[in-house]
């Protein structure tokens, strides 16, 4: 089938079988290998992308479902220069170690901070609970997201 979709702000037309996993189409057809596979069953969240602004596990999404949507993958998270504030705080606070969960964590954190500005640490942990990290014990990620949250708040003042 033919799929019309906007990926990272760019209109794309993709010819593929509709039942393929979005994850595979992103990685194999479009070369967007920043989206990672950790488990293939929607448990780890490493393959998280944003679909119309909401996080989805791309390993569970048949590509036919992305018709007409706006997708953001990790490759589209930062602007042309520098890093998104969440990417920046993840690096500075030690929120990325081995890095394999990081693209999914970064996108989910972007969604969480935009969805619930000023969310408490406890609430942030709930919002991010679909993404598993085995390296950090989560503390540095939580601290990084709080720092990004504070920085976004101050920039709105």
């Amino acid at each position: 089938m033919n799929i019309e979709v906007t990926i990272n702000g760019e209109s794309r037309s993709i010819e593929t079988e509709g039942h393929r996993r979005l994850l595979d189409v992103l990685r194999e057809e479009l070369g967007l290998v920043g989206t990672k596979e950790g488990c293939g069953e929607g448990e780890c969240g490493a393959c998280t992308v944003l679909m119309d602004g909401e996080p989805v596990n791309s390993c569970l999404v048949p590509v036919g479902q992305i018709q007409g949507t706006q997708l953001t993958t990790i490759e589209g998270m930062a602007g042309s220069d520098g890093l998104h504030i969440i990417q920046d705080t993840l690096v500075r606070y030690g929120g990325a170690q081995c890095g394999i969960c990081t693209p999914g964590v970064a996108l989910c954190a972007k969604w969480a901070v935009e969805k619930e500005p000023g969310a408490s640490k406890e609430r942030l942990r709930e919002l991010l609970a679909g993404n598993i990290c085995r390296c950090t014990g989560y503390q540095a990620i939580v601290d990084a997201v709080v720092a990004a949250q504070n920085s976004s708040e101050s920039s709105h003042e």
């Binding site: 290998v33 690096v91 606070y93 030690g94 394999i100 709930e126 609970a129 085995r134 014990g137 989560y138």
Partner: protein, 756 residues
């Protein structure tokens, strides 16, 4: 907190050591541009798949390609295709790369045959048409049963290795009998899955020149190099093993990657194209190594004033079907089994036993978490029996500078035992537990643990390894650190950047630390055993200083004395060609170790740690929530405090996960919970807010005072967590309810029902 020496203060002033420099690989990782093995493609590359045994014990009688599939589309590799020795060489040669016809299958999910096809889908289809004929024979799965079983898995008695450590002249039974009190306990811990988020994988390709190139997810390139020399009958000139960016290891990518590398290389050799072999998550959980299950009997004899006088420990580890690294894991387990306590009369016996389960292997802590769990449960019970505070009992008995360990090693310097315990005690005392409200189902409890962890290889291991590292000026004008130490997330590249920049006296951005390949770096030893910073970091620092001195003397001799180092180095390289310095590790003087009697300096030095865990147990739902987690670790010197804090916090949660939730369930020798859905690890919501305290008692032979930190945070929180649950339910359940891990809701339910 912190006792940095003058020399490291000076170093800090000059360079970046001691600063929380942002990870040098951080930007690539947050942008998603870091390339892991599954992100790599080679022209004509095929996909590999492994055909595995479904029976735990048997004799392979045949491998049959069933009709109904066009076998010309794929390549099938069996043991007959192995050009060298059919073994995954590490310590012994007992484990085959592929089981040969007529040979024994010793565990479920053992590799029998390999398939490569242009697509994964086609390889999967072929896998379904390949039949294995295995004559099943009786199997044994329990390590205690294996000691007396008729079934032979290894040798005549299934014993993979034994150790005996003895201290003191008196008979241990007599000594125990003379104590005012003896606490006796039987402790069991379960297998644990490393659960790195990047599954294991390798790509192999053979050049027209006959050189085999292997790239993938790994901790130890030279372990793979050694195993491939034997399996592929190659010499080092025809073999290159390269690390790709690696998505976590925790020990799980120490020895098993040699198996995958060998399989990919065999497939690529026969197929004539590069072959990528990436494990699916279920395959990774089912087939690769895990933490050794353990059974530890511990007797602790002490007097009424709380003085420990006799310790007797019997340790059994389940090694699984092949030796792999088991004897070394057991060694570390027994060497830590008496704990960080003074005692003149100690006996530790250890046995590793073979069973028909997939081999257990390296996992952060490497045998120490199992024995730490046992001795810290014992300490908690002893303090409670005497009515002493958990801090007071430990303070009374702890090893201090100048004391001797169970192997009679004299502790000389860098002993942060008092500091770490005091640090967590202060936080604990300032934050008393909430009072229980009897009207609710919630009970609060606090657990304490205090422990140590030997950094580096055991005994004379580091002298034998003789790890080397090189610092060179690269063609593009960067200083390059070349070592076989792999960054698997723990921050090697950043730490080495800081050590080299400080040694050279340059800015960190003048230094680069590439991922290693065996044809480009010296063998620095494996990336294991909390040794990378302490041992390899030390030689990186020494090589940096040596290179700086050489450049400076060349510059002053040639009239460039005022030139900045990097410019002077570039000028020098134009005249002299590539300039580099390589340094080999020299263990500190006075390290004397007797491998026969297991006495002497077991480790160059120890890390010290203490933690306090507060829990809330719901006696209706049996759920445990962690309200407080305070962890103090003596790391000698934090080369990068952000990286060190990350190591402590990550290890802490792995230990808490093992204590409360994580389990690997075997049915007839097969992992029954081989998905992330049922083989669970803690999430953001399970994890507590962590209060991490870095203590620095410098180690004179580490870089700027640094010693190991990677493993110690894994050792103790498990015991503190179990102790906290015991404390919370102390009026409801006897303490034996918390002597086996995990202390899951199911285990708490069982314990409460048995006692009601």
């Amino acid at each position: 907190m912190g006792h940095a020496s003058n020399s490291s203060e000076e170093a800090k002033a000059k360079g970046s050591v001691g600063k929380g420099l942002a990870r040098v690989d951080g930007a690539a990782k947050v942008r998603g541009t870091a390339r892991y093995v599954d992100d790599l493609k080679f022209p004509g590359m095929h996909h590999g798949l492994t055909k595995r045994s479904e029976v735990p014990h048997g004799i392979l009688r045949g491998i049959h390609k069933r009709e109904g599939f066009d076998w010309s589309q794929v390549v099938v590799v069996t043991a007959e295709d192995i050009p060298g020795r059919n073994t995954i060489l590490l310590i012994e040669e007992d484990q085959p790369a592929l089981v040969a016809i007529g040979a024994h299958v010793r565990h479920v999910d053992e590799a029998i045959a390999l398939i490569a096809a242009p697509t994964r889908a086609l390889a999967r289809e072929a896998h379904g048409f390949l039949d294995l004929e295995i004559e099943e024979i009786p199997a044994v799965f329990d390590c205690e049963e294996a000691l007396s079983a008729e079934v032979n898995v290894y040798g005549d008695d299934n014993i993979l290795k034994t150790y005996l450590i003895e201290k003191g002249d008196a008979d241990i039974e007599e000594k125990l009998a003379s104590c005012d009190h003896v606490v006796e306990g039987l402790y069991r811990t379960q297998a644990q899955e490393q659960m790195y988020i990047e599954p294991q994988g390798m790509i192999a390709s053979w050049g027209e020149d006959g050189v085999c190139h292997i790239i993938g997810s790994m901790q130890c390139p030279f372990y793979i190099q050694k195993a491939m020399r034997a399996l592929l009958a190659l010499d080092d000139d025809n073999l290159v093993v390269e690390q790709a960016v690696t998505g976590g290891g925790f020990g799980g990518k120490e020895e098993y990657p040699s198996m995958i590398a060998g399989h990919a290389a065999l497939l690529a050799r026969k197929a004539g194209v590069p072959v990528k072999l990436i494990y699916e998550r279920d395959e990774d959980i089912a087939a690769t190594t895990k933490r050794h299950p353990s059974v530890v009997r511990h007797r602790l004899g002490f007097d009424a004033d709380g003085t420990i006088r006799a310790i007797d420990v019997d340790v059994i580890f389940d090694g699984g079907a092949y030796l792999t690294l088991t004897q070394v894991v057991l060694s570390r387990g027994v060497l830590h089994a008496a704990g960080p306590y003074k005692c003149e009369n100690t006996r530790v016996r250890g046995r590793a036993v073979a069973t028909n389960t997939p081999p257990h292997g390296a996992f952060r802590g490497f045998g120490a978490p199992q024995t730490t769990f046992a001795y810290e449960r014992q300490t908690q019970k002893a303090a409670a029996l005497l009515g002493m505070s958990p801090f007071e009992f430990r303070e009374h008995n702890m090893l201090r500078d100048g004391d001797r360990t169970a192997t009679s090693q004299l502790l000389e310097g860098s002993v942060g035992s008092e500091d770490v315990l005091r640090a967590v005690k202060e936080v604990a005392e300032a934050n008393p537990l909430p009072k229980d409200d009897p009207a609710t189902s919630i009970r609060h409890g606090r657990g304490v643990a205090f422990y140590f962890h030997g950094a580096g290889f055991t005994g004379s291991g580091e002298a034998r390894l003789a790890g080397r590292a090189t610092v060179a000026l690269a063609e593009d004008g960067h200083f390059e650190v070349r070592s076989s130490s792999t960054d698997i997330g723990q921050g090697v590249q950043t730490m080495f950047t800081q050590i080299a920049a400080t040694g050279l006296g340059v800015e960190p951005d003048a230094v680069r630390v590439p991922t290693p390949a065996t044809d480009r770096v010296p063998d620095s030893g494996p990336t294991v055993a909390s040794r990378t910073c302490m041992v390899v970091g030390r030689v990186v620092g020494q090589a940096s200083v040596a290179l700086k001195n050489r450049i400076e003397s060349w510059a002053s001799e040639n009239g460039f004395g005022d030139m900045p180092l990097r410019q002077a180095a570039t000028a020098m390289a134009k005249v002299e060609g590539e300039i580099s310095e390589t340094v080999q590790y020299a263990p500190p003087p006075g390290i004397v170790w007797d491998d026969e009697t297991y006495t002497g300096s077991a480790y160059p030095c120890y890390g010290w740690a203490a933690c306090v865990i507060d829990v809330r147990v719901d006696t209706d739902t049996y759920e445990v929530a962690i309200d407080r987690c305070v962890h103090a670790v003596d790391v000698g010197k934090a080369i990068n405090p952000v990286v060190v804090k990350g190591q402590i916090e990550g290890g802490t949660l792995q230990s808490l996960g093992w204590a409360l939730w994580e389990d690997v369930i075997y049915k007839n020798g097969k992992v029954a919970n081989d998905r992330m859905t049922n083989c669970i690890v803690p999430t953001f919501s399970d994890a507590p807010e962590m209060h991490t305290i870095i203590v620095e008692e410098p180690f004179a032979n580490g870089p700027y005072g640094a010693k190991g930190v990677g493993e110690i945070p894994m050792d103790g929180p498990c015991a503190a967590a179990a102790g906290a649950v015991e404390h919370a339910l102390s009026t409801l359940v006897s303490s034996e309810g918390f002597d086996a891990l995990p202390v899951s809701p199911e285990a708490i339910q069982r314990a409460m029902r048995l006692d009601s």
